[in-house]
Symmetry: C2
Subunit: 350 residues, 2 copies
């Protein structure tokens, strides 16, 4: 007779082999209920389980207990270097707590996001980690109404009271602006991320606020908004900005935008940092190897994922959402793309 490799042993098989009832076997195998069973039985059952290479069917358990020990993680684009570490940080904490992570990539598409939520709920995930939220996100709102424990990562929505873990954008922008002001820059350009995302809006607001406080030039012609966080948009808006203004420094809404901007500087024969200082945001891998190495705000993405998971786990355990928004500390990393402002006119026009 062929050995039954594919079909694993069931609890009934284990019970039979140990000469006990399935119910007893279940108790013996579950660490929590194990105390209700005699030590000898526990040993026998465990031996039988081992002999049969018994693997509990968590699907069946989930059906009974109404908990799947699974959480859904929804990201806008896994190949974007800021989200992968977030997922990794989250998955690690989740795994250690016995949870599995189902991943969904929305490709920055609201329709796919809604679909992902649907699928995930169908799969009875116990909770959700969402990094794809737009400020006005109907799908996320319906999640709240559906009562699914959900924690937002990095991006938050405007009108929902969901817990959210993110980097401290105000602090990050403050460090960036102070750094530039300390170097003597007054005309500071700003290439904003999309303000349909909370990160884009909040960094832009913080920038304006800080410039107001520290007395920089708030000429609106010094600001341009990208439609997406991408190198291409950095290129496009960088050109627009430099076509009409002469900032001595530019802050970019994130590192991709900064990279696009660096390209524009090069194509216009403007040197960085001598002619224009540039500050990015996120501290993506390898931006320290660019030329010049990018001065940027380091955001602890992995920690964001980990912390969000802990909040979700607590929610799952207590049944009530815990903390609301928490901002993790960020830190400006000064590298080669920023330097003191040059004397007016000293070579700005090549």
């Amino acid at each position: 007779m062929a050995s039954e490799v594919t079909t694993g042993a069931t609890l009934k098989d284990v019970a039979e082999r140990a000469g006990v009832h399935p119910g007893t076997a279940s108790r013996a195998l579950n660490p929590v209920t194990q105390g209700l069973v005699s030590e000898a039985t526990v040993r026998r059952v465990h031996a039988a389980a081992k002999a049969l290479a018994y693997r509990p069917n968590s699907i069946a358990r989930g059906l009974k207990t109404n908990r799947t020990m699974t959480v859904g993680i929804v990201v806008p684009d896994l190949s974007n270097p800021v989200f992968a570490p977030m997922v990794r940080g989250a998955a690690e904490v989740l795994t250690n707590a016995g949870y599995s992570s189902v991943i969904a990539d929305t490709d920055n598409d609201p329709a796919k996001e809604a679909e992902a939520f649907d699928t995930l709920r169908s799969r009875q995930v116990d909770g959700l980690l969402v990094a794809s939220a737009r400020r006005d996100d109907a799908a996320v709102r319906s999640l709240v109404e559906g009562g699914v424990p959900t924690v937002l990562l990095n991006r938050r929505t405007d009108r929902t009271a969901l817990p959210c873990v993110m980097g401290d954008d105000t602090s990050g922008m403050e460090q960036a602006v102070r750094h530039l002001r300390a170097l003597g820059h007054e005309r500071i350009g700003y290439l904003s991320g999309p303000t349909a995302l909370s990160t884009g809006l909040e960094r832009a607001r913080a920038f304006r606020q800080l410039m107001l406080e520290l007395g920089g030039d708030l000429d609106p012609s010094l600001t341009e908004e990208c439609m997406t966080y991408s190198v291409e948009e950095g290129t496009r808006t960088g050109r627009l900005l430099l076509d009409r203004a002469r900032p001595t420094a530019i802050i970019a809404g994130n590192d991709q935008i900064a990279v696009g901007l660096l390209g524009v500087l090069e194509e216009r024969r403007l040197r960085c940092p001598e002619d224009v200082s540039v500050v990015g945001y996120n501290d993506m891998p390898f931006v320290d190897k660019l030329s010049p190495p990018l001065t940027t705000v380091h955001v602890p993405h992995s920690a964001i994922g980990a912390e969000a998971s802990r909040i979700l786990l607590r929610w799952l355990q207590d049944g009530v959402p815990g903390s609301t928004t928490i901002s993790l500390g960020v830190e400006l990393v000064v590298r080669g793309s920023t330097s003191p402002v040059r004397e007016q006119g000293a070579g700005q026009e090549r």
Copy 2:
């Protein structure tokens, strides 16, 4: 009475509302069995389902059908830029086929890998995509014995006959060596990836093979092996190599190693590409922005994930493993880190 937001409607509820038996409702809702039900009933059931916002419980379905429509994806390190696109490519194909993806990050730890396989099997995944395999991987072998449909990505094992999708390492290395030879390089160094991984071994073999064929210098002092694919190891082995040899060009086992090497070149005041040409492998994001922009072999990681998923899907459908190993085309991308060899002695000693 409080509205029952968290507990979704069940099939029984839908059936009741439509005035039919749950079995009938099930048939009406399932596209395959829908033909067995009168059109009027189908409409009534669908209406009821919609009204109750019915969401089928795929857990319960899985218990009955023995298929969870879930596949596990196991990667060694999600924050490594080569794996994220692979996962993304896989998840997209899988999602379109109605499957969900459970992700597991092994952190390059064999023990964690074994654990991940266990968990995933417990969760009754229909199949597995494994990108973390070592050449000698006991855990993967036991997967085969367990009969779990599994497709390997990028890295393959020595003695298992599992389907595997990867980049064509021989072709990649051939293009790299030919390029360098065409530029006049004869003393070509090689910073190998770990040969415990199939990619490390196969690229190293291909390198030696090609050098033999094209008549380059095969002095063993021109080769050094990294213990991991990392910038640090690139730095370490780069120093070792340059301490004892004077290659005019160096090929790195991957881009991280190349980045480490670039750092060593800088610290030794050797210019790239004037003094030493450098070739990487993988074409990670942003290596085109390094200085100099890295010449490297482009590997279609996202396509590897997608193709592996298709093979797995077919296996799941037909019940038999399809193709075995398939190599996807790779292409050398020539950028600024390689140039013609300089005259002997012309400035090599600063």
